[in-house]
């Protein structure tokens, strides 16, 4: 086995570990919702190739107000769905769209675009 081949095999192992770590095991940054005057937990989310922020932490039993702004024209992200709360909204490009609901139970709930290419997570404490 030649030196380049050994080098490639070792790189392969390293890359595998790196991919698995980066996409699955590394902890993700979380954004805690700010509580507004009216008592709702508010977060503004930008939709562009993904949701920014994409991991949102809120408290159970309080209304959550998520304002989405879609800054791209790709039809993929034109809808956002919260299947666990039966909430969804169309996101016209450049417009602020607000979704409001109250999560009652603690847990992790996913949100995503219609076909699931863009994903985010709502963590209810």
């Amino acid at each position: 086995m030649s030196i380049p081949q050994i080098f490639v095999i070792l790189s392969g192992i390293l890359l595998t570990i790196l991919i698995a770590w980066y996409f699955w095991f590394a902890p993700k940054a979380q954004t805690r919702a700010a509580v507004s005057e009216s008592g709702a937990q508010e977060v503004a989310i930008t939709v562009k190739g993904g949701y920014t922020p994409d991991v949102i932490v809120v408290k159970a039993g309080r209304p959550v107000r998520l304002t989405f702004t879609r800054q791209e024209s790709s039809a993929c992200s034109e809808k956002v769905l919260f299947p666990d709360f039966n909430q969804n909204a169309n996101l016209p490009e450049g417009e602020q769209v607000t979704l409001e609901f109250t999560p009652d139970k603690a847990g992790e709930y996913g949100f995503q675009c219609q076909m699931g290419m863009l994903r985010g997570k709502l963590i209810v404490e």
């Binding site: 086995m1 392969g12 996409f23 009216s38 190739g49 920014t52 791209e72 290419m117």
Partner: protein, 878 residues
């Protein structure tokens, strides 16, 4: 009768009044022109007074109704009241907790609406009112924004106003009782701007427009990438091109350098979404289709560029570029996206059809003048004129006139409903015979039709449980494909044939490109969207993907008897004459109906209706007397008459003879017989019964043919229940079930291990509907049944149950096809791309073939979902 002129207080006769005005459902009469003029200036200040006394003694006080929301009124109303009382000039506060409205009487000279609103808001409530968006043409100067805002805010009744220069729209919260759109428009015109209807209020059109725009953009990107691809392909396969094959390696390399530059704009423009999308995803520690395309094309470009810049560091024969892969793959995937978008547009046609039911304009009467307004401008409280043959534009209550209205599109009732003053009318229904005026109660997104559209849209965007499997898979899919691509490279490089580097690179790029998470992600939502839309077209409102999925596996359908199998309304079925009767059957019915007309018993109406259907005249009734638990007695045409049950006849010692036998056989048929005696002699029997809907038996037969067990549940006695069951072909009957036990009975059926659907008319069956795996509410699309059930059958027929199950089966089959197709595509495509077939058959995929396969696999999924649009139920909708 005289009434008072509301302005001067003079007593006048309505017939001889100088003029008449209608304002918000009240009619006012005036003695003279000056009084009318004064009224017209501000009709609202004369409201809130009794229509009969007319005169308002406290003219300086203004009264306003504010819709408040945001918190439960019950607990916080005292807080709210004290905040308002603290304001000078507020004299009376009434809080209507259930309606969520606040009534304030205030002195307009001391306090204004804006201060009332801010006081309400300070307690944490929000003030409702109407929200409207008004477009403003050519709004360019930012400083004018503030002027327009101030002008709008100073208009009476405006709660808040914001102007957005980016969207060229003003958003105004206002109280429609206090101002009209025309006044708001006037405020904008004051500053020299031209108002227009806001564009963002028509979501469907807007989305369509956005789609058309996006489609054009994608096609432009495609054509550019395709044009570049042709050039790049020619240089890549130079061996086959006459002039190029004679060139030296150095000039070829120069030519390749030129194609390297050509592919740059393809990546930067045509493929820009992939690269930016991949980067955003990467920042979020996630990976998707964009990541795969970016890695594949990026790797091919970088390798190619290195190969032509530093050919010496590569082994012999491996320094040829792959720019063709870059441009062709991008062109194909972009084309795939464009085709997918076009196909998606077709899937949402159901919503367009529903919205098409709505009228476009309304003839609104404001200040005594008729005007045709676009439906978006109609406000709550407007009075609208509807002529025969026209559509009712929005929901409301009739204030003048009467007519028959065809409501079949929303309630499924095929007979036009007769409507008179005080009756509700629903938007999108068709006025048949008469003209009427109605006051609007719900407009815009609150109308019954809008609610239905919203419900269908929500359901279309909901998730079927089966989609979660696909979701879980696609969550791990992309990183797994990346790891597979890495190892494909490693293995080909380590043990593959020469030139190893080329093989390793081509196979790993092919793996990245052929893998298609999109097909997996699209499989369920596309079919769900078409399927639920198809259901809506046939009058079946499916609330969620979950309901749709469960309906497929239904094994038992439980039918409520009254109102579901039967019409739910008793009808006259038989008139029987005894041998010694002194009258014929029509005459007996006439006498009985005349008596029952006075009675308030629910069965009495059936007899009256029966007599009316036969065009019998009613006669005068004397000495009417209701005997509780027995029946009634009265005098008609000089005869004493008794109508009632067996107990009544026994009490009055009336010999029934053969009538008793006949009444038993009527009862066996599920009918309710009533004995009639004239002058102490048995004269006959009138029987009424809740009759079976014409198509119930047919629908039940089809359900049974589909392999579904049909069970009837009812609170009625067993004899009646079984009579009905025999008629419609149901063998299993749960009779004498108390309303509260219905849910329990459903539970018992579920305990047999079966999936149970319950069909009921919505309100009284709510617990049973909720207990069942799938609850189907039969009835109107306008009432609360929608909330209680998983599926609402707008058309009152049981055939809807069949269609609902058919829709569910067709949609779920379609979803399975899509999912299986998508799984197989990836499960076969990825190993082949890795070169699994190479050792045996020498088969390797070109990355370009992989790009085409990937692009068209998602188009196939959408296309297959669109096949559902051809779904035809067994029972046609019309």
């Amino acid at each position: 009768m005289t009434i008072q002129d509301p302005v001067c207080g003079m007593e006048i006769e309505p017939q001889s009044a100088f003029a008449k005005r209608e304002h918000m459902g009240q009619t006012f009469y005036f003695c003279s022109q000056s009084c009318v003029d004064q009224f017209d200036k501000d009709p609202h200040s004369y409201m809130m007074t009794s229509a009969t006394t007319g005169f308002n003694p406290e003219r300086t006080l203004t009264r306003i109704e504010l819709p408040v929301s945001g918190m439960p009124l019950k607990e916080h109303s005292t807080h709210l009241e004290s905040a308002l009382r603290a304001l000078e000039g507020v004299s009376e506060i009434k809080v209507n907790e259930t309606a969520g409205r606040l009534e304030v009487q205030y002195d307009a000279q001391k306090v204004d609406v804006a201060r009332l609103v801010s006081a309400v808001k300070s307690t944490g409530f929000q003030v409702g009112g109407t929200n409207i968006k008004i477009g403003i043409e050519n709004l360019r100067c930012a400083s004018c924004v503030k002027f327009i805002e101030d002008e709008l805010k100073s208009t009476a009744g405006v709660l808040s106003a914001t102007v957005n220069i980016a969207t060229q729209e003003a958003t105004v919260d206002y109280l429609p009782q206090k101002t009209t759109l025309a006044q708001l428009n006037a405020a904008i015109e004051e500053w020299g701007y031209k108002p227009r209807a806001a564009t963002s209020d028509a979501p469907v059109d807007k989305q369509e427009e956005a789609h058309a725009h996006e489609y054009r953009k994608l096609m432009n990107k495609f054509w550019f990438a395709a044009a570049v691809s042709v050039i790049v392909m020619v240089t890549a396969y130079y061996q086959f091109i006459p002039v190029l094959r004679d060139l030296s390696m150095d000039s070829l390399r120069l030519l390749w350098g030129f194609t390297a530059l050509l592919t740059l704009p393809v990546m930067a423009w045509s493929g820009s979404d992939f690269f930016t999308g991949a980067w955003s995803a990467f920042k979020h520690r996630s990976a998707n289709m964009n990541t795969l395309i970016t890695l594949g094309t990026g790797a091919a470009w970088l390798y190619s560029t290195f190969a032509i810049l530093f050919p010496s560091i590569f082994p012999e024969g491996t320094s040829e570029p792959f720019y063709d892969v870059v441009s062709v793959v991008i062109a194909l995937v972009v084309l795939g996206q464009a085709l997918e978008l076009r196909a998606k547009g077709q899937s949402s046609s159901a919503i367009k059809k529903l919205l098409g039911l709505q009228a476009k304009t309304a003839r609104v009467i404001r200040d005594g003048k008729d005007m045709d307004l676009p439906i978006e401008e109609v406000l709550v409280g407007d009075v609208i004129q509807v002529r025969p043959g026209e559509k009712v534009p929005v929901d409301g209550v009739i204030v003048e006139g009467s007519s028959a209205v065809d409501e079949s599109m929303l309630t499924g009732e095929s007979m036009p409903a007769s409507k008179k003053m005080g009756d509700e009318v629903i938007g999108a229904t068709i006025n048949k015979t008469g003209a009427f005026k109605f006051r609007t109660t719900k407009v815009g997104k609150d109308t019954a039709l809008a609610q239905i559209v919203k419900m269908v849209q929500d359901a279309q965007n909901s998730k079927a449980p089966i989609a979660r499997l696909a979701d879980t898979v696609s969550g791990y899919f992309v990183p797994v494909v990346m790891i597979l691509a890495v190892w494909t490279f490693v293995i080909w490089f380590a043990i593959g044939p020469q030139p190893q580097l080329i093989y390793a690179l081509v196979t790993s790029v092919t793996v990245l490109i052929i893998a298609c998470p999109c097909a997996l992600g699209l499989a369920t939502p596309m079919s769900l969207m078409v399927g639920i839309g198809k259901g809506a077209e046939h009058g079946i409102l499916i609330r969620s993907g979950e309901a749709l999925q469960t309906a497929r596996g239904i094994q038992i359908v439980v039918l409520d008897k009254t109102g579901t199998i039967t019409k739910g309304k008793p009808e006259l079925t038989d008139v029987v004459i005894s041998e010694q009767s002194s009258v014929d059957s029509d005459q007996l019915l006439k006498l009985a109906a005349s008596v029952e007309k006075v009675s308030e018993h629910p069965l009495a109406q059936a007899i009256v209706d029966g007599a009316q259907a036969k065009k019998l005249e009613f006669v005068e009734v004397k000495d009417f007397n209701a005997i509780p638990g027995h029946g009634v007695s009265a005098k008609v045409e000089g005869k004493s008459i008794l109508i009632g049950n067996l107990k009544l006849m026994n009490r009055e010692n009336i010999a029934l003879g053969s009538l008793e036998e006949q009444s038993k056989s009527l009862a066996d048929d599920g009918k309710t017989p009533m004995f009639i005696a004239l002058d102490g002699k048995a004269a006959g029997i009138i029987a009424v019964a809740d009759t079976v809907k014409e198509d119930s038996a047919e629908a039940i037969k089809v359900l049974q043919d589909m392999g579904i067990e049909v069970v009837m549940i009812t609170g009625d006695n067993r004899r009646t229940a079984e009579a009905i069951a025999r008629k419609v072909g149901v063998t299993r009957v749960l009779a004498e079930v108390l309303p509260e036990d219905k849910a329990n009975n459903i539970h018992l059926l579920q305990a047999e291990g079966k999936k149970v659907a319950m069909v009921g008319d919505g309100i009284n069956d709510a617990p049973a509907l909720a207990q069942a795996d799938v609850g189907l509410a039969i009835g109107t699309g306008t009432d609360v049944a929608i909330e209680a059930s998983d599926i609402t059958l707008i058309k009152g027929s049981l055939k809807g149950v069949v269609t609902a199950i058919e829709v569910s089966r067709a949609t779920m089959n379609n979803i399975y096809q899509n999912l299986v197709g998508a799984f197989f595509y990836n499960a076969l495509g990825v190993p082949i791309a890795m070169g699994l077939l190479f050792p045996f058959f020498g088969i390797l995929l070109s990355p370009m073939i992989a790009g085409a396969a990937m692009a068209f696999s998602s188009v196939t999924v959408v296309g297959n979902a669109n096949r559902l649009r051809g779904f035809k139920p067994k029972f046609s909708a019309k």
